[in-house]
Symmetry: C2
Subunit: 337 residues, 2 copies
Amino acid sequence: MSDPRRLAVLRAIVEDYVHYREPVGSKVLVERHQLGVSSATIRNDMAALEEEGLIAAPHTSAGRIPTDKGYRLFVDQLASVKPLSAPERRAIHTFLDEADDLDDVLERSARLLSQLTRQVAVVQYPTASQARVRHLEIVALGPAQVLAVLITDAGSVEQRVVDLGQAVTEDDVAQLRTAFLTAGSGRAVHGLREALESLPATFAPALQPAAAHLAAALTTLAEAGTEDRIVLAGTANLARATMDFPLSIGPVLEALEEQVVMLRLLTEMHQDQHGVAVSIGRENPFDELAGTSVVATGYGRGAVSKVGVLGPTRMDYPSSMAAVRAVARYLSRILAN
Amino acid sequence: MSDPRRLAVLRAIVEDYVHYREPVGSKVLVERHQLGVSSATIRNDMAALEEEGLIAAPHTSAGRIPTDKGYRLFVDQLASVKPLSAPERRAIHTFLDEADDLDDVLERSARLLSQLTRQVAVVQYPTASQARVRHLEIVALGPAQVLAVLITDAGSVEQRVVDLGQAVTEDDVAQLRTAFLTAGSGRAVHGLREALESLPATFAPALQPAAAHLAAALTTLAEAGTEDRIVLAGTANLARATMDFPLSIGPVLEALEEQVVMLRLLTEMHQDQHGVAVSIGRENPFDELAGTSVVATGYGRGAVSKVGVLGPTRMDYPSSMAAVRAVARYLSRILAN
DNA sequence: CTTAGCACTCTACCTCTCCAAGTGCTAATT
DNA sequence: AATTAGCACTTGGAGAGGTAGAGTGCTAAG
């Protein structure tokens, strides 16, 4: 399959189908694109494309629509880069620069991306799994209560009120603080458990139970920090595309709400040479998402966290890819602080 | 309007319409309910009910459906308390008892409520607006960087990394810490601004810029804490009810995503004698939600934060009210710790 | 390899008819 | 005065054709 005209025909079919939302026939194809041949020739090409499983006809007298495989070929070989418009670029800057909080940044990114693409935007929280402990703090709240705070170099801050099970003095707290800080600082977050394991035993017997409580709490905190989450925006965009989904958008909404599903989906995607990962229709590991495609890319240090959009397989891949990439880049830059 | 049989007819219409999802006529009404009179009599009653605007006919030869006003009367006067089933009660306990975090509790509540009612669940974060500062903490991170932590007696913990704009010593930090703690502790969160306003001036001139930075950050933090948020669950339940919405569920999804909209909706609702607030159809302050009803109630200290469900006007009000109330109660109990 | 022409096949849409459900009204009954 | 039986009337929905248009594949010629 390398006949350049046939590829051009496939591209034209994909573009027209995305644009006009209806099966495209040989006649309109020659009218709308300068293919330089007659509709009969196109028909032959279309027959060949259908033979290869790249396009399909809903029924005899309708035009053709791309199959998942057709979209795949389009994305891999035919999609030309579609740069964002100047206003779009400006929107990214102005909208994201106003954010302060990490939460705020991610939420704004999702919102922005859903508006740019008119799809559902998905932003994964920066994974702290390979983050390191930048600082940890223990603050006395009451006689037997302290606040434990864990700050990672990924910028996340997790905290929790810990019940020590025994009254402790200010001095005790200071002692605990110093010891834990020394033991934990700089350690990888997921290695905190081992780092703190033997620590309680080093304290005076009277303090050991409290230290044990604290170690447990900090470990949980570290693991809670690595627990991934996602932010959604623009789910209403699914409603516009009701026609595109076989039965209903219900299962799709359910999948979106299941963070586990989305996380697995995002982490299993592999980026191609352009740095953007695309998963089309049945390529998705979940049946509920058989009618949807996902365009995603990594961001942040190591590009290990993902940001992307989800929409019907009939989506504007070039635009979506451009928008996702642009937002991811800007997002990385912001988080670099 | 007080004829008891007419009320019984209205109740029967509401119940049947909710159950069978189609307009209900006089004949099926006498078949399904022991009304003790003939269909002709029912027809007379129905004509009267229609006259009063409590029910309406989609077209001449169809049965009747309740109007918003009809649902309102039903909710106010006819809804009998429908206690939760034993398994449902058990589900609330087992499901919510496993939660640890505040976030986790709220998320689980929303999920649970959406499953119990098969509607969209909405949980507002506990409003900290009348909360008091329980503790505040300042922790050195770097030469010119500290972490500011604000803990309220509502249990919320907000933190932020603050750039002081100048290098400070450990002693400086300790000094700042003590002063801010003394000035802020016990103050109402929304009164923190005034409490800290004059504080920077009391420091040595060299420290004043840093103190000002810190005061600003803590104030923002306090105000961010009062900034309300909501948790959603079960949006997929909207898809089941596509038929119930005039055009599409799109606008409803949009409204749900707009936290501002939901917050205003929830705060503007007034609870009735049963402690549950119901807003039906066009009673809602937003046109997008003209086809939906909201059942909500307060929870937590002072019952000032809201929890509730949103669904089509044709919803099972008694069940929804029972579920909302049960979850709210249990939620209050959990948060009492 | 391309193209004009043509027979063929569908679906979407329209119209028509008919049926069942449901109503309102009238007159009779309690 | 309230209830009821009976009946004429309305109307949307389902089904049955019938048609037009879009699109195809194939054949034969350029």
